[in-house]
Subunit: 495 residues, 2 copies
């Protein structure tokens, strides 16, 4: 396969490249003097496409998130803003649904409904409840915003003499592909789903019309990308159980509908290795590491995550407590670093979850602390550099997630850890199939097994640790974001 | 395909037929004089195999559930009891795990863990928690009972000069096939899974060893039967993600492992049509119908189920309330008959669920009742004849389950209903693929859609009602238990 740089040249020679995601690479704020100041954002999609070479000719369509974005968009007097910041050399184009429409789209459909669905977070006998509010938010929120995106994208397609290639991202824009295909039957469309795709009957908790519309739209892509084979198979199953009239080829992973064929592909998403290495060598991280190490013990277990119910932090703590109970010899010698970022704290379930994390930590520290030792160090704040510092010195990195598209920490840690620390990884994480040879695996509900896995990780010989570290580094390099993009571009060039 | 009677003759000429399920067709009680009195039981598996012709030569292996079963088993002085009751003309054989072992197997593994798993009933951030109690119950409960079954089955296999054919049932006996295959490599083994099979990553919440052991055992069957294609696909996916070294043929639905090939088949489970028709014509049902009709209104919506969280009764009531709110013209004219059987009331979630059903009913009745009309009639008791009576006169039969292997009510109702009543059926029920042409479908979380479906069902013309009724009756006859068994026997004869 050619290098990413060459593939980008090939792609942009052939196509007018348009990327679309709800959140774009740039957002504006109003300075005190009223001036509009752009800054680089840091979401998952933005990081992923950050691997594109500088100077790649593309337009990125995203939602105007605040008033400043709207103003920037209007004041440019152009349909798009070229080279808004040094870190992003393409053009950005904001779509501007009304606040009311955006609220319905984002706060009723995307986050509480689709995110919970994608991560098996419903307590099915009680949630969700699809009432008239949800129906309204679907038709006058989600559908509207997707229509606004589709129109914005078509403007860009039409502005170029080259044929368009549209790369759509994630669960916010499920209906775009279908709308685009209707308007421009020959458009090249790829959609990448960052989150796990649950099985058909879990989807079918939702109104069948919603499931049909989403599936029908995604079947209108040329390539539909997922993180893992399990997601892809579940998508096929969802289409099979839907009311759509399709032909599914399970072996080749294709779906034909209305004379169009959609190809499903697996693109496990990686990270940018050099970036995290460079951050880990920054003076602030080195300084933070030094401070943290002052209160460190022999053995460091590190758990880094958002306080998100699907991340399973409470069970991580419970498993650690079992370890302390079973292995008195470790008391005083081991520290559990809980680097927890508060998240979506306006949602009840998230508030409750963070509260339970705090209680669990307090309970363990009350039960096991001595005058000179606390078993858990709680670092509950949004502090990425501190998390990077913790990643440099873990002996065990615990990633026991219930459900997630991929996991960045499990990929960043091994690249910058200086102790050949061991990764204990949930076998339900989207990144598990890519890393399984180099980790100790756990099942998320398995408290006893997670405790055993921690004990095993601690007891590995230096040689075993090193060999796992090498395996992990190789896998992580192989799935780097440049490679992730290269494979996608190569597939698109092959069509 | 030959008739069931002929197939039974063919099968039992070729094989020594052994059926195994946790609960058997007969249980004993001690009469006041100490005498052991056998009676016919009524579980799902027993009903299913009740379609076997009288005189079919088979041995049914099941757990001795009470002291009387144990005594009956010993006092017979035989390894099995032939023709224990007129309704069952085969032989029964009790296996007798100790109470302690059985408790771990049934009350820790089968019901709280496997049943909840199979029906997506976990609130994943909080349940389940696999601790040392669960591990212990797995190895010294579930595994033990399965071993006891396997030994009992082998005794029967060895007692015959014919080769053995073993038909294993449901989630209680997942490990038997593997144990049997090890002891008798040439044995013909079929396992039928009555419950839905959730997707791989939901399974993988549990310890990987448990999932591996279950999958490995089921892969050692000759035929593995499921209710629907979605279950079968999920099983393949679970095996694919497991640590087992297998070759999966997705097109032909086969799995090869250790030189053995297992074939997956779909056998949607039906009912015995003549039985329910005959019950519906019994004097007690006719009398009960008459009494119920005295308090009936124009339109009867009937909801019959166990008070089981996966059955979605609370949402059924909420949807009905939306109907009353939107359609004032129906107030006074419609009655919701809630025939609810209390279930597993020793389990906290079930207690809570029944309580919420009662509250929901009280709330609706408080809000909408008039001097002469109550919108909901609550019949909360275990009274099958009363449920049959209600099935004879519904205008709408609401079956909005979240998750279930099949549904008997949705099959019984259309056969005995005298009004060409309409079935509103959840598209996540295992019976949905078989009945979908004749029902109005709903999604279980869709309150608004369920209310609309009720309104649509009420508004159908007599001709539309009749044509749906005919479609349903044809489907239900086609999937009757005799046919269900015939297809299985024909497949087994073909191997």
């Amino acid at each position: 396969m050619a290098e990413l740089a060459q593939l980008c040249i090939d792609i942009t020679e052939r196509y007018s490249l348009i990327v679309a995601s709800n959140r774009g690479p740039v957002e504006y704020r109003s300075a005190d003097n009223g001036e509009l100041v752009p800054r680089h954002t840091s979401g998952g999609v933005v990081t992923a496409l950050g691997a594109l070479p500088d100077g790649t000719d593309l337009t990125w369509v995203s939602s105007a998130l605040g008033e400043a974005d709207r103003r920037a968009s209007s004041s440019a007097g152009l349909s798009k803003i070229p080279k808004p910041i040094p870190q992003f050399t393409g053009s950005i184009k904001f779509v501007k649904p009304s606040r009311r429409v955006y609220h319905k789209y984002y706060n009723i459909i995307c986050n509480p409904l689709l995110w919970f669905l994608h991560h098996y977070m419903w307590n099915t006998p009680y949630s969700p409840n699809v009432d008239s509010t949800v129906y309204d938010a679907w038709s006058s929120g989600y559908l509207q915003v997707n229509q606004t995106f589709a129109s914005g994208i078509i403007e860009e397609v039409d502005a170029s003499s080259k044929p368009g290639l549209v790369m759509l991202h994630d669960y916010h824009l499920y209906l775009c592909a279908g709308m685009l295909r209707k308007m421009r039957p020959d458009l090249m469309i790829q959609h990448y789903v960052h989150v796990p795709w649950p099985e058909a009957r879990y989807w079918n908790m939702l109104p069948q019309d919603i499931v049909n519309e989403i599936c029908a739209s995604l079947c209108k892509t040329n390539i539909l990308g997922f993180q893992t084979m399990a997601d892809s198979r579940n998508f096929l199953s969802t289409v099979e159980l839907s009311d759509l009239d399709t032909t599914i080829d399970w072996g080749n992973q294709t779906i034909s509908m209305d004379g169009h064929t959609c190809k499903l592909k697996i693109y496990p998403m990686g990270i940018n290795p050099s970036e995290v290495v460079s951050i880990s060598q920054s003076p602030r991280v080195i300084e933070r590491r030094r401070t943290l190490m002052e209160s460190s013990t022999d053995i460091s277990i590190v758990r880094i995550d958002r306080a998100e119910p699907s991340k399973n932090i409470v069970r991580a703590l419970k498993a650690y407590e079992i370890l302390l109970k079973n292995r008195k010899d470790l008391c005083g010698r081991v520290t559990f670093w809980a680097c927890i970022v508060p998240s979506r704290s306006h949602i009840r379930q998230y508030q409750r979850y963070l509260e339970e994390i705090r209680q669990e930590i307090a309970r363990i520290n009350t039960g096991y602390s001595t005058d000179t030792w606390a078993p858990v160090v709680a670092l509950i704040e949004n502090n990425y550099l501190q998390a990077v510092a913790a990643m440099t010195f873990y002996d065990v990195l615990l990633v026991n997630t219930i459900s997630e598209g991929t996991n960045l920490i499990a990929q960043e840690g091994p690249l910058i850890n200086s102790r050949n620390g061991v990764v204990v990884l949930s076998n339900t994480s989207g990144v598990y199939p890519s890393l399984k040879e180099g980790v100790i695996s756990v099942s998320p509900a398995d408290l006893e097994g997670t405790s055993d896995a921690l004990a095993r990780a601690i007891s590995l010989t230096p040689e075993e640790r090193e060999s796992k570290q090498i395996l992990l580094r190789n896998s992580i390099q192989a799935m780097s974001l440049s490679n992730w993009l290269s494979v996608q571009f190569a597939d698109l060039m092959d069509i």
